[in-house]
């Protein structure tokens, strides 16, 4: 093998090695920027819209849901968003089931907050309306400045203060 061929092979090998590295990184990038891809966004969006209509189109066996399976209210709020506190920006899609908020790891939304109780509050749907219930928390659950007593209807856009966090339903 001549000197020139060898040098070309040697450098070509390094180039191919970097081709591998860069293609691997490209695969990684696709993973990282996943939500920005139109195709995957569309794919993940679609079910959200159909989920409201889903019980109608495909009747499903209901095995005794929480307080009877309340159908997802049409045009009702679609998600629970944390708008203040350490978890700001966290979103939980609403389903027909209740959302338990607190510090206990078994909660749906786990707050890492010394001011909240283990099982602090519950947000649940009934008859097309969402309600919030304080579960006997130490520091209370507030709507505006007012601590809530018992079960209170919760409209979208109204902030519920739990410890240092504020959550609200959004459409």
């Amino acid at each position: 093998m001549s000197e020139l061929t060898f040098t070309l092979l040697r450098l070509g090998y390094l180039v191919l090695l970097w081709v591998f590295v860069l293609s691997a990184v490209a695969v990684l990038r696709r993973d990282l920027s996943g939500p920005r891809q139109p195709s995957s966004t569309r794919r993940s969006r679609r079910p959200e819209m159909t989920s409201a209509a889903a019980p109608v189109s495909t009747p499903t066996p209901v095995a005794g849901g929480a307080g009877g399976r309340a159908p997802q209210p049409r045009r009702g709020p679609a998600r629970l968003v944390v708008v203040a506190g350490p978890l700001t920006g966290t979103t939980i899609p609403l389903t027909a089931s209740a959302i338990l908020i607190g510090r206990a790891p078994s909660c749906t939304l786990v707050l890492d907050d010394d001011y909240s109780s283990s099982r602090h509050a519950r947000i649940f749907p009934q008859g097309g309306q969402w309600y919030v219930e304080d579960l006997g928390s130490t520091n209370g659950t507030f709507i505006g400045e007012q601590p809530i007593q018992g079960i209170v209807p919760l409209a979208p856009g109204v902030g519920v203060q739990i410890g240092q966090s504020v959550v609200e339903l959004q459409g």
Partner: protein
């Protein structure tokens, strides 16, 4: 909870197609071309033709890599697509380098043995395949938490048993059974990762929540320091008894790293660093062999050391310097001048023949594997899987740091080997097992599970997550997953208001499957942004 049968693909009611793993196939082809090319170039420059065993090596490697690819298609179709090609490439490069030093044998009689190394590669890949085939759900390992602890401790202690262990170059990290020699620390690494994951997922709340803040660091309570003290004592025992800084750093680092993963408390890292530093200084001031290692590290060019104790590391540095920017080319350097160039010092051998450009490429391949492990840790939904994947990825990164740091004189040299490349059966086997575990976890993490789980309605779409009859909440595992799933993105750099979760395109396979008592009405498992994956 651990015996839950994972998803049968046929039951998926989802519009997600099973990925064809095209990216993996493409990367695998490039990796195999690189491996075969390396072996061919080694032959060209060493013997002026195909090297002995060329067809065995290339066909064997290609065959097994493709077999694993096909196995993944059937058995873990959603698994990560970058890990396998990256690992195959590292194996191929390692094999080429071992072969290259083996061919030098005629002149220098180094005990490199490419045939044996190749056999171990095949065996390790087979083991990974078997593990992937039979282990359907990584969560089933959680029940072996304390078994793993005992196994880990026994494995670490084995080299200290007289007659079984024998010091090689001062470090007692080997055991000899008949003709076989093993480095049990490599397997202990996995055992400890399983144990720490199982232990921390149960106990993390105590470790995370109690304590007060000092200077912005949340410090744990004194009585919660027990576990870290035990691991510290074990790793110091390793340092003193086996004279091996690497292994001891590996175990302690693994524990502190996983503690941090589990609790998100920087205080633990600070405590761990202080404890290790003080322990290491203490060991240095008491024990002569530790002092000698440090001397070699600080003054390798000392005329008294350079011909003896520090000969290896200095030759390795010369080799790296000889390689320069683009390397001497396969088979054109003189890596055989470095003792153990085929195992402990394979990094400097590669540096000599591929240059800095090649070394950085190889480092990036490692980095990609580690990144995939950590990414899977974020994506997977059960707390045990998160900690296991995170811990395994972290320990691989730490091992790389210890090995390469030792060769490039950032830290004292240790007896650890470069994963996947260095000749050595235990290292290959253990690291392929790690790869199989990571692939399995990533499959579980990415699988769009529409499955009706226990405590979950059979939803018409895969997107009605974990809605269950009241009273079925989640076990601590599931709860941990929910906690992580919610907590992690909140702490990440997502701008407020941006929904970092998206709809849970792949709902609670992991967590809800574990469903059982707990009292939460439901557990909506929210995922981090992970749509698309690498398909």
């Amino acid at each position: 909870m651990s015996g839950v049968a994972p998803a049968e693909p046929g039951m998926l009611q989802t519009d997600e197609r099973v990925p064809a793993r095209v990216a993996e196939a493409f990367l695998l082809v490039v990796a195999l071309v690189l491996s075969v090319g390396a072996i061919w170039m080694v032959g060209e420059s060493m013997v002026g033709g195909l090297p002995p065993g060329f067809w065995t090596y290339t066909l064997g490697l290609t065959g097994l890599a493709l077999a694993l690819h096909l196995l993944l298609r059937f058995r873990a179709p959603y698994a990560d697509q970058v890990i396998l090609p990256a690992v195959v490439l590292l194996n191929g490069l390692g094999l080429a380098m071992v072969l290259r030093i083996d061919l030098e044998d005629a002149r220098f009689a180094t005990p490199a043995n490419a045939g044996r190394h190749f056999m171990w590669i095949l065996l390790a890949m087979l083991c990974a395949g078997v593990l992937l085939w039979f282990l359907r759900d990584h969560r089933s390992w959680r029940k072996y938490t304390y078994t793993a602890m005992i196994a880990g401790i026994v494995l670490v202690m084995l080299p200290l048993i007289p007659g079984l262990g024998r010091p090689i170059n001062g470090a007692k990290v080997w055991i000899f059974i008949g003709p076989f020699s093993l480095q049990p620390a490599e397997f202990a690494k996995i055992a400890f990762a399983v144990f720490f994951a199982g232990y921390l997922v149960t106990n993390r709340d105590t470790l995370a929540l109690a304590g007060r803040k000092v200077l912005g660091l949340q410090l744990p309570r004194a009585r919660d320091l027990g576990p870290i003290l035990v691991v510290w004592a074990i790793s110091l025992g390793v340092l003193v008894g086996q004279t091996d800084l690497g292994t001891s750093l590996l175990f302690f680092g693994l524990f502190v790293g996983m503690l941090y993963l589990a609790t998100e408390r920087g205080g633990w890292v600070a405590i761990g660093l202080v404890m290790f530093a003080s322990g290491a200084v203490l060991a240095w001031s008491i024990f002569g062999h530790v002092q000698r290692r440090v001397d070699i590290w600080l003054n390798p060019f000392d005329p008294e050391l350079i011909t003896g104790a520090s000969f290896q590391i200095v030759q390795g540095l010369f080799g790296l310097a000889h390689g320069g920017m683009f390397g001497a080319g396969w088979g054109e350097g003189m890596p055989y001048l470095v003792p153990y160039a085929y195992s402990d010092f394979i990094y400097s051998a590669l540096g000599e023949e591929l240059g800095l450009t090649g070394l950085l490429g190889i480092l990036l391949v490692y980095l990609v594997i580690v990144e995939r492990g950590l990414r899977n840790a974020i994506a997977v939904r059960d707390g045990f899987g998160k900690l296991l994947a995170g811990g395994l990825a972290f320990v691989m990164a730490l091992q790389l740091f210890v090995v390469i740091g030792g060769i490039t004189r950032i830290i004292p040299l240790t007896g650890l080997t470069l994963p996947f490349m260095a000749q050595g059966g235990s290292s290959l086997l253990a690291n392929w097992v790690v790869v199989a575990l990571l692939l399995r976890i990533s499959d579980n993490a990415r699988r769009p599970s529409a499955l009706p789980m226990r405590g979950q309605l059979a939803g018409p779409t895969p997107h009605e997550v974990g809605q269950g009859p009241s009273g079925t909440g989640a076990l601590p595992v599931a709860a941990g997953a929910a906690r992580d799933a919610v907590a992690v993105p909140g702490r990440s750099a997502n701008p407020p208001g941006e929904s970092s979760f998206g709809p849970p395109a792949g709902p609670a396979d992991g967590a809800a499957a574990d469903g059982a008592a707990g009292g939460a009405e439901t557990t909506v498992i929210v995922d981090g942004p992970r749509e698309g994956g690498t398909r």
